[in-house]
């Protein structure tokens, strides 16, 4: 796309939407010349919409009739009063000099509102009308005008609540798609940053933007994503999470194949690496695609702290991920199948602690694991003030009294709480959630086949992870085939001057090598 074409697209989402709507209902239905016919037609289409306002006004100076149609609660009253009504009724003069079919062109040029659209097709006014634009009909003119006047009652830009950083930028995405695109464009001031709009959902008409950098992102990947998005046939898309499920290819996998984040810095970095970003109107969480396994271990703060510290923390995260999956299972396997592997004093201690306990280790472990899951779920949803109480009740009261009541071995409390802590260190919440299921699988494997079961289950998960791909990029692409340059921003993080280039497998220029 050349830059001129691209700036034209920058304008507003509604333009493209009109275009798409026109595509949707192929037949073109011309507007009537008479205001009354148009009014009746609209009234049948919007029969049940009592909030739709039809307003007839006429110009004082020229005696021309106009019909304004809009949803009262969706438009900016100031624009309507000061920039439209005032001009139409009092200020505009000169209709008498013009032919009636030139009226709309004349009004378009006279009104102090930007981005006015002129249409002749009945079907193409419905979309903009529903999205909060004002439609202006003029008597004896076959053209209607779409005047953008949406209210901007969205919340203002605030720090991210889900991914906090210490040294990073403190702005995060909001629900408004245009504001979000603006946040990205502010960071990447490059004419090659491409923005493509889609409208999806028969009932929701959700605006979706696909962003990528031409020349860096691989065409194959972008085409794949574009194809996936444009072939979606769904009646409603309310949030990016639904879109995520609709475009990913392994729907039953435990591992997320797109990365959702509301941090514009993270998104910009992904764009510069050659990935695509999908923004959905109404959700502050944009999607990054394609993703690899290693990306779920990167936090935004990694890029704002010193190399050695960051690299160490990264390695700690990998260890935590592995132990969050394997720790309870290993404990179970060691104590019930291979007690000989434990050092003698520890084995003796566990035996001593287990004397008098009524349940087998498996029951204790499942019970405690269940309690932790409940506590975590409870504290996520509750208001902040009560959330702390849950922590106290869960951590102190249950933890302490379960041991005192002789229900659970204290070592199990340690194992389960260590595991829970290990999951909290993972920077991406969606990813941390999947470790819960993996952990359960491992506990089952350990309960049936001990260490052998754990290793086999681990192999199964590894095979699954090696086999899935996200838009043509293998999930474990970062680790295979071996390449030193891939290590720079995965297991460790090299200083910034070494990781300036996009990964090989995403880079357009290295197309033939992969």
């Amino acid at each position: 796309m050349d830059s001129r074409n691209f700036f034209r697209r920058k304008g507003s989402a509604s333009k493209i939407k009109i275009h798409l709507n026109r595509n949707k209902s192929d037949e073109i239905e011309p507007l009537s010349l008479s205001l009354k016919d148009n009014l009746n037609k609209l009234k049948t289409t919007f029969e049940h919409c009592e909030d739709l306002v039809y307003r007839k006004v006429s110009s004082k100076k020229s005696n021309v009739d106009f019909l304004l149609v809009y949803f009262g609660e969706m438009i900016e009253k100031n624009t309507l009063n000061n920039n439209i009504l005032k001009y139409l009724i009092h200020d505009i003069d000169g209709f008498s000099k013009r032919k009636s079919y030139e009226y709309s062109k004349f009004i378009k040029a006279s009104l102090p509102v930007s981005n006015i659209e002129e249409v002749t097709d009945y079907n193409s006014i419905i979309g903009p009308l529903l999205s909060g634009d004002i439609i202006l009909f003029t008597e004896d003119c076959y053209c209607a005008l779409i005047i953008p006047a949406k209210t901007s009652d969205e919340r203002s830009i605030a720090p991210s609540a889900t991914e906090r950083t210490i040294r990073g930028p403190q702005d995060a995405f909001v629900e408004n798609i245009n504001k979000n695109i603006h946040l990205i464009r502010k960071r990447i001031q490059d004419p090659n940053l491409a923005v493509e709009f889609f409208t999806l959902g028969h009932s929701t008409n959700t605006n979706i933007a696909l962003l990528y950098i031409k020349g860096i992102a691989k065409n194959d990947i972008i085409n794949k994503i574009r194809l996936k998005i444009s072939t979606i046939d769904s009646s409603s898309i309310l949030a990016s999470a639904q879109l995520e499920q609709l475009i990913e290819s392994h729907k039953w996998s435990l591992f997320p194949q797109t990365l959702a984040t509301d941090r514009p810095d993270k998104l910009s970095r992904s764009l510069l690496e050659g990935r695509a970003v999908i923004i959905v109107n109404g959700t502050p969480f944009a999607l990054i695609a394609p993703v690899t396994f290693a990306m779920f271990f990167n936090s935004s703060d990694d890029y704002f702290e010193r190399t050695i510290v960051t690299s160490t923390i990264r390695i700690v995260r990998y260890i935590c991920f592995i132990s969050s999956i394997f720790l309870p299972a290993l404990y179970l396997a060691m104590t019930s199948y291979h007690p000989g592997m434990l050092p003698t004093p520890l084995a003796l201690y566990i035996t001593g602690a287990r004397v008098g306990l009524p349940f087998p280790s498996l029951v204790e472990l499942v019970f405690m694991q269940f309690t932790t899951e409940v506590l975590i779920e409870a504290s996520v949803r509750l208001p902040k003030a009560i959330g702390q109480t849950v922590g106290i009740v869960g951590g102190l009261v249950i933890g302490q009294s379960v041991v005192q009541a002789g229900l659970v071995n204290p070592l199990i409390v340690i194992v389960v709480s260590l595991t829970a802590l290990a999951t909290f260190i993972l920077p991406v919440y969606t990813f941390a959630l999947s470790t819960r299921i993996l952990r359960a699988i491992m506990i089952i494997a350990a309960a049936t086949f001990g260490l052998y079961g754990i290793v086999i289950a681990g192999l199964f998960i590894l095979i699954h992870m090696s086999s899935i791909e996200s838009f043509g990029i293998r999930y474990l692409e970062d680790f295979s085939p071996y390449s030193l340059s891939k290590l720079k921003d995965t297991l460790i993080k090299a200083p910034h001057q070494y990781i300036n280039r996009a990964p090989e497998y995403l880079n357009e220029k290295n197309n033939d090598e992969v």
């Binding site: 199948y337 592997m341 050092p343 192999l459 095979i463 293998r474």
Partner: protein, 364 residues
């Protein structure tokens, strides 16, 4: 279905190392010492040198007959009839290898990890893991091998380092006192795991630049030989050539001798047998994949998944067939001769290829 898979030359390293190091390494030191006594490690060195030649043959054939795997090459070079017979031999060799690997592996698992679990279950589980892996295709296998390789090498080095606290150099003396013959006959024992190199012949068509893999085939053989020599040498140095004959799994018992100041693990052999699960699995999975390709060539079919499934019962039967561990080793011996035969064929194959296709070039 796998034609669009493109592997990078460095993938070859993991393929070579992981197919050559398998469950056989657990018992190999004992079998070698039984033949070559304390010169067993020299057998491994000799085998390593021969493996370089065999590896080069596979590589040469793969480059010359681009796009064909070794089964297809045999048909092209040796003619249809002899080619089919060779494919049958390969089929027998591979399926015996997988079956007996599963068997000896389940024996070790029963001995060190799960003494009460039925053997059938252990065998079934490892075979179905392999089936799942092969089902997912070659790219998945190569990624998996690449991920497993660092861990496996780490465990082998750990084993060697820990055991080295107990070694006694005098045990390998005197060198070559029974002459060179036992050293050479020891080769028969080791030829079987070393023919894992044959995987080169099967994965070669999937590489973007087959010419570039030479470096990695040789590196792989070198690394494997290094580990084999080190482990056999370590077993001899720690146990002595007499004591080793009494041990079924000298490599694992090696870890038992580990004496650490801090007692992290009471029974280190359980830990190492655990590490051996992925090692066995990766060998079996790659063999399985090779077998599928070989069967496809033999039956002249393209039904990939069917070829995977029809082998499952065969492998299970072979794994369960030997009554005891001695019988299992008997069949392993047969397999070793089969491997020897195939190695010889592979070495002479390039010469036949040169003679047959001297004029007119290769039709592929």
């Amino acid at each position: 279905m796998d034609k669009e898979i493109k592997l990078k030359d460095i993938n070859m390293l993991a393929f070579v190392i992981q197919t050559m190091i398998g469950v056989r390494l657990l018992t190999l030191p004992r079998d070698l010492v039984a033949i070559a006594s304390n010169d067993a490690w020299l057998s491994v060195v000799v085998a390593g040198l021969l493996a370089l030649i065999i590896g080069y043959c596979f590589y040469w054939l793969g480059v010359k007959h681009r796009g064909l795997n070794i089964s297809q090459i045999m048909e092209v070079v040796l003619g249809k009839f002899i080619g089919k017979i060779m494919q049958l031999f390969i089929f027998a060799y591979i399926i015996l290898s997988i079956g007996l690997s599963a068997r000896t592996f389940s024996d070790s698992i029963q001995l060190f990890l799960l003494d009460k679990t039925p053997r059938v279950l252990v065998i079934l589980i490892i075979i179905f893991t392999c089936v799942y892996c092969v089902f997912k295709g070659l790219k998945t296998i190569s990624i998996l091998l690449d991920i497993l390789l660092p861990f496996i090498i780490f465990f082998l080095i750990l084993l060697l380092l820990l055991a080295s606290t107990n070694m006694d150099i005098d045990n390998i003396h005197p060198v070559l006192y029974r002459g060179i013959t036992p050293v050479l006959s020891g080769y028969v024992e080791i030829v079987h795991p070393y023919l894992g190199l044959g995987v080169v012949g099967y994965v070669m068509p999937y590489f973007t630049n087959p010419e570039k893999t030479k470096k990695w085939v040789f590196t792989g053989v070198f690394v494997v030989t290094l580990f084999y020599v080190a482990i056999v040498l370590m077993c001899i140095m720690v146990f002595g050539s007499k004591e080793i004959n009494e041990l079924v799994h000298p490599t694992i018992i090696l870890s038992k001798t580990i004496e650490l100041e801090a007692q992290l693990f009471e029974r280190a052999e359980s830990l190492f047998i655990t590490a051996w699960i992925p090692i066995t699995f990766s060998t079996m999975a790659v063999y399985y994949y090779a077998s599928v390709l070989n069967l496809k060539a033999f039956l002249g079919t393209n039904r990939h998944n069917l070829m995977i499934y029809i082998q499952i019962p065969l492998i299970i039967i072979i794994a369960l067939f030997p009554e005891d561990i001695i019988k299992a080793y008997h069949y392993l011996k047969i397999n070793s001769y089969l491997a020897l035969l195939l190695s010889i064929v592979v070495v002479i194959l390039p010469f036949i290829s040169i003679i047959r296709f001297r004029k007119g070039g290769v039709k592929t």
